[in-house]
C-alpha cells in the first residue's frame, strides 16, 4: 500500500510545541528525501503518544521499537 506523503506530513502536527518545533526542522531538512521504507517507519512512529514521543526524542526514555530508531535519530539531530 502506498503511503500518502501529504497525510504523513499533516500528522507531524502534534499537541506539544516541543514536537512541532522538532518536526518543523525535520520536515524542512529530511522529509522530502525519505525513502518509502523510511516513510513507513515514520508513519508507524507517529502513532506514539506525544509525551512518549518527546521523551524518546530527548533521550529521557529509550526508543521503544528498533524500527523507529533511524527516524528518532533524524528528529533528534535536526
Amino acid at each position: 500500500m502506498t503511503i500518502n506523503r501529504g497525510r504523513v506530513r499533516w500528522q507531524c502536527r502534534r499537541a506539544l510545541l516541543e514536537l512541532d518545533l522538532v518536526f518543523a526542522r525535520f520536515l524542512e531538512r529530511h522529509f522530502d528525501h525519505l525513502s518509502d521504507d523510511q516513510l513507513a517507519d515514520l508513519d508507524d512512529l507517529l502513532i506514539v503518544e506525544d509525551h512518549d514521543l518527546w521523551a524518546m526524542i530527548n533521550g529521557s526514555q529509550p526508543v521503544a521499537d528498533d524500527r523507529w530508531k533511524e527516524m528518532v535519530d533524524l528528529l533528534r539531530a535536526g
Binding site: N4, R5, G6, R7, R9, W10, Q11, R13, R14, A15, L16, L17, E18, L19, D20, L21, V22, A24, E49, D50, H51, N58, G59, S60
Partner: protein, 597 residues
Amino acid sequence: MKVAKRTFDAVIVGAGGAGLRAALQLSEAGMKTAVLTKVFPTRSHTVAAQGGVAASLGNSTEDNWHWHMYDTVKGSDWLGDQDAIEFMVKKANEVVVELEHYGMPFDRTDNGKIYQRPFGGHSQNYGQTPVSRSCAAADRTGHAMLHALYQRNVRANTQFFVEWMAMDLIRNADGDVLGVTAMEMETGEVSIFHAKATIFATGGAGRIYYSSTNAFINTGDGVGMAARAGIPLEDMEFWQFHPTGVAGAGVLITEGVRGEGGILRNSSGERFMERYAPNLKDLASRDVVSRAMTTEINEGRGCGSAKDHVLLDITHLSPETINKRLPGIREISIQFAGIDPIKAPIPVVPTCHYQMGGIPTNYKGQVVVPKDGNSNVPIVGFYAAGECACASVHGANRLGTNSLLDLLVFGKAAGETVVSDFQSGQLKLQPLPEDAADVSLARIARLESQTGGEDVHEVRLEMQRVMQKHAGVFRFADVLKEGVTKIMEVAERAKRTQIKDKSRVWNTARTEALELDNLIEVAKATMVSAEARKESRGAHVRDDAIDCAETPNGRDDVNWLKHTLWYSQGNRLDYKPVNLQPMSADVEPIALAKRTY
C-alpha cells in the same frame, strides 16, 4: 458545484477537553452528535496542560468555593463576570469527581482521596495563605483527561470526523446558526454539516504571536469563523504571557523551576525580581514577573547580543536536584536553547500562553450578542466552550489550573443546555439557505486561482512579528496605534495568499492558508481592542496609565470596567458591562479592590 450534506442533531467543532466534554453530554443523552477535528482527538493541545485542575475539594487543606471564587475574581482583575465565576467554582467538585469516575488517574493521598497541590494565585480565607486546590495526574493531567473523555465518547457512540477542517459558520437570514461547512483533508472536498445545534470548542489562537507556548494547531479557527460570520469577539486584548518561554523557541519552562530555587537575572547578573516583588521575588504571579522582565529588557538590561531576553539561572542547584526535581527542563533547554542548565543559565522571555477573550457566551455556554438594547441575547443554535469562548471567567488574567476547570464546566454546561433545548423541542433543523456553502467554496476557488499573490508563511510571520512588537505585555499608545495600521496592512496581504501546490488530497499548504484566515481575524481583534483600552488591567500594562488612588495599578474602573466587543465587519468596537452580580444569593458580590499579592 454540488456539495455533500450531512445531518446531525448537533455538530461540535474541536475535540480537545471542552469539545469532548460537551460531546459526551450529548451522546449520552442519545443525540446524534458529530465532532469535527483537525487532528486526532488525543493530539489536541489540552495534552500540554500540566498544572492540574482547580477544585475546592479540601482534600489536602481546608477549602471552599467562596475562597476559590474570590481568587478567580481577583485574578481576573475584576473583569470576570461574577455569575459565570460563581457557576464555575460551584461546579468544580462535581466535574472533577465525574472525571474520576470516568477513569482519570488522579494522584492520590495516602487515604485514597484525590491529592491536591498548591498553585499560584489560589488561597485560603480570601488571599491569606496558599491553598492546595489543584488536582493533577503527575505532569500529564491534560493528557490523562483527554484520554478518559475520549474513551467515554467512543463508548457513547460519538461520531468523530478526524482530519476535517471546519471552514465557515452557516447562518440564516435571522442570524440563527444551522451548522458549518468543513473540508475533509483526505479528499479536499467541502461538505455541509447541517445541525440543530453547533458547539465551538476550537481552543485558542496563541499562534498570532511570534513567541508562543502554543502548539501549531492553535490557530483560533472557531474564533476566526465566528468573527467572519458577524459575531463580535469579546476582550481579545487580554492575553496571558507566561514569564518563562525559551527565547526564540517559545517552549514553556514550568513555574516549578522557580519553585525549586531558579533565579531570574539581567545582563549584569542582578536578581532583579528583588526590586519588583520584595516578598515573593521570582515566585510572584505570572503577570508581575512578565512585566518586570519586559521592563528590564526595555530599559537596556536584557541579555544576549540583541539584549532581548533575560536569564533563568539554576546553576546553583546540584545536578542531582535538577535531574530529580526538574525532569524535562534540562532536555528542553539543551534541545531549544543549546544550553545545559547545569552549566549555564537558560535564556527566557515572556511568551504568549493563553487567550482570555473569545466568542462571547453566558454561563450556560450559549453564544450571546447585543441586540435591541440587550447586551447578551443568545444566538439560536450556537454554543461555545473552552479557550475559544469568553464566559467570562478569566477576565483580564487567568489563574493557573482554572483553564482545565473552565473547559470541563463549560463544556458540560454547553452540552446540558443543548440537551435541554433539544429535549424540549426548542431546537429545530431549520432549512438551509441556498448559498450555505458559497462562502467556503469561494475561499477555496480564490486560493486555486490566485496569481501574483502572497506567500502564506511570510504573511503569517509578519503578522506574528507585528503582534509581538506592538501588542505585548507592555503597551504604549503610539506603538499600538502604529500596530493597528500595520496589522491592517498584513490583513490586506492575507486576502491575497497564494499556494503553489493546488492538489486536493492532503494539501497541507491549503490547510495552512485557511488557518491564516482565522489567525488574522484574531490578530486584528487583539490589536484594535488593545489600542482602544487606555488602562492597565490584569495581564497587560499601559505605559500611559497612572498608578494612583483613583486608578490603582493603572486600572481605570470608572472608564474601563467593561467588556470589549470587536466586530470584523467595519473593524469596529462596542462595549458591554461586566456582570459584578453573582448568580445566586449564596454570595455577596466581590467588591472592587486594588489587586496586590
